[in-house]
Amino acid sequence: MGIELYRIDDRLIHGQVVVGWGQPLDIAFLVLVDDEVAASDWEQELYRMGVPPGMTVNFESVASAAEALPRYRADRRRGILLTADIDTMRRLAEAAEIPAVNLGGIHHRAGRAQRLRYVFLSDEEAEALRALQRRGVTVTAQDVPAARVVPLDEVLAAHGEG
């Protein structure tokens, strides 16, 4: 049990996460790791709205998440850890052991190129993901459980058709 999925998704808590992944994996808790959200009661209340009954959410900064990760991993329930961007996950992986990262939704922005229909990356972000993989973290893309798992090498070689 513990953390079943370490996911990068710029929408953080939304339908795909709480329903798409939450129901088949029987997810009982979310850990939202974001320095800005962790410092804002208003942001936390906003994301709490998206959490259905029977599921809890904890808000952590990168530093507090790294400290609390062993406790989350030992939880007898199943959980999902979320970051909104690659840099936050990278910093967390440098401070704590992350076995695998799921690219769930990184959308279009200036300077990013499309890799899959739900993954757009800048050159710097692509390199950050390569660096994560070099650290031993398995990086794959998969927006919903029924979708194909796309390995990082394939993501980086793709041009938007996936």
Binding site: D10, G15, Q16, G50, G160
Partner: protein, 158 residues
Amino acid sequence: MSEGEGQGPASSAAGGVGEGAGSDRDAARDPVCGIVAGHGDLAAGLVSAVAQITGRGSLFLPLSNRGLGGEQLEATLREALARTGARLVFTDLPGGSWTIAARRVQRTEPSVVLVTGVSLPMLLDCAFHEDAPVDEAARGAVERGRGAMTVAGGEHGH
């Protein structure tokens, strides 16, 4: 159930404003009384159904979340509100990304009223009360939507 389908905002397949019914509205003759924001083609489908029933295709502006990240959802909604002058926003999931985007918009535009859990009966109620004040229209729509849900048949049915 893929929420983030589409090819991104640079593509014609991307989500955003004006997909499906209502995109060719004549603002002067038939003003938008609300924005419907949903996953996939839900909003366009609902707006199309309103058009079929009422004969007026441009009462609501449909938005899809296809290919849009959190910041783009908020920007798309702000643009749609500014362009149409609508103050009423319907979203599908209470905790979905459109709802989060609408709540962010409300922080700076408190006159915007949000209704979650959109359904066809809600939109029809709103369509027939398009001149009502926005908060009154929202309350009426929610009441009609709740009242439209029934269970019939089954072992314990009536």
